[in-house]
């Protein structure tokens, strides 16, 4: 979706503000926000793509005014409500007042290190041969889906070159909506700065994205 998350090339946000020796967390609640996000993610009720889509579906005014952990927590409220773990009444009361769905899985504290260490690979074997080869010129799809996509606006309808082929990967655009993993081959596609940004582009710039096969057409 053309949501607030799709920031590439947007203007007006001001300079980057690197902090000297920044702390890992800027407030205690941020630790909790990360912990709650990981713990509820472990319920197995939604996947990373659905959670990303919940974040980008926040109202733009909310998204841009929020810190990143606040974005996570606001989106988490949506996910918890959608999947029956939380009600408006619970939120209003600040504690559980309604019955809730029991999670299929619960992440026990003792298991956290092992779960974090094992991660969640999302490459998938593919039977189909690759449609494109390294070095091939391609054009990215031009579309404006209302659902989740990982093809940023700045890279739509653009000519680029396939630089690398990767394995099959879970297709975020369908996985975010409970429509299955539908793995597709992933490609690193590189664009000249001038193709993406046109007049005035930095002549030394190239930008690459990782594009699922259905984002690409032969050029």
């Amino acid at each position: 979706m053309n949501g607030p998350q799709d920031l590439g090339g947007q203007m007006g946000f001001g300079p980057v503000a690197p902090e000297q020796d920044e702390p890992i967390f800027h407030a205690d609640w941020e630790k909790r926000a990360l912990g709650v996000t990981l713990a509820t993610g472990a319920f197995g009720a939604w996947n990373i793509d659905e959670s990303r889509h919940a974040r980008e579906s926040l109202h733009p005014a909310t998204y841009y005014a929020a810190t990143y952990y606040e974005i996570w927590i606001r989106a988490l409220e949506v996910l918890l409500k959608r999947h029956g773990f939380l009600s408006e009444a619970d939120l209003a009361a600040g504690k559980a007042v309604d019955g809730a769905v029991a999670p299929k899985r619960v992440l026990k504290a003792a298991d956290v290190p092992a779960v974090l260490a094992s991660g969640g690979p999302c490459d998938r074997p593919l039977a189909a041969p690759a449609r494109f080869r390294a070095g091939e010129r391609v054009r990215t799809k031009n579309f404006n889906p209302t659902g989740h996509t990982r093809l940023p606006r700045y890279a739509r309808g653009k000519f680029g070159t396939v630089e690398a082929l990767h394995d099959g990967f879970v297709f975020s655009d369908s996985n975010a909506h409970g429509e299955g993993e539908n793995p597709e081959r992933l490609y690193t596609v590189v664009f000249d700065g001038s193709e993406v940004w046109g007049e005035g582009a930095d002549p030394t710039l190239t930008v690459s994205i990782d594009a699922w096969e259905s984002y690409l057409e032969p050029a």
């Binding site: 998350q5 799709d6 920031l7 590439g8 090339g9 947007q10 203007m11 946000f13 001001g14 300079p15 980057v16 503000a17 690197p18 902090e19 920044e22 890992i24 800027h26 990360l34 990303r52 974040r55 980008e56 841009y64 810190t67 990143y68 779960v115 974090l116 260490a117 094992s118 991660g119 969640g120 690979p121 999302c122 490459d123 990982r150 093809l151 940023p152 700045y154 890279a155 990767h166 990967f169 879970v170 975020s172 992933l186 690193t188 590189v190 993406v196 940004w197 582009a201 930095d202 030394t204 710039l205 190239t206 930008v207 690459s208 994205i209 990782d210 594009a211 699922w212």
Partner: protein, 150 residues
């Protein structure tokens, strides 16, 4: 990084299969399942961003800094990387090519900075001290050995 600078076979492994090469040093796990190492060269500087969210190799670099997740960096890294780098105090030569990697899928990028000049005699441990987090995102360079800068 220090191992890649001092061990050509390791550097080659890192280039071919970064996930396995990095795992061999004990760094594995969430948000590091599919690693790609991108090597700076004398004529190309690499910079990593996630314009769409905050994709970052947790298992190698830890949690991302606030600026990496915030709109100024995410919006400008792809259109004005040189301007962004200036804000980190890094001015690239005009002729250096800039390659920006937008982490739009589940591959997580790690920049292999150039080995600093003057570091020839250093062992792996001393070399490791020259590597900063920012140099592995691309918003910095590996440091200059103290005895050379002094």
């Amino acid at each position: 990084m220090a191992k890649a600078w001092s061990d050509a076979a390791y550097a080659d492994w890192l280039r071919r299969d970064a996930t396995a090469a990095i795992a061999s040093l004990g760094f594995t796990g969430r948000q590091g399942e599919h690693m790609q190492a991108v090597f700076n060269t004398p004529d190309t500087h690499n910079l990593v961003v996630c314009t769409l969210c905050s994709c970052y190799p947790w298992s190698v670099l830890g949690l991302p800094p606030v600026w990496y997740k915030a709109p100024p960096y995410r919006s400008r890294a792809v259109i004005d990387p040189r301007g962004v780098l200036e804000e980190f105090g890094l001015t690239l030569p005009a002729g250096t090519k800039v390659r920006v990697w937008d982490s739009t899928a589940e591959l997580r990028y790690l920049v292999v900075p150039l080995r600093p000049e003057g570091s020839e005699g250093l062992n792996e441990e001393a070399l490791a001290d020259l590597v900063t987090r920012d140099s592995m995102i691309g918003t910095g360079l590996a440091g200059v050995p103290a005895k050379v800068s002094a």
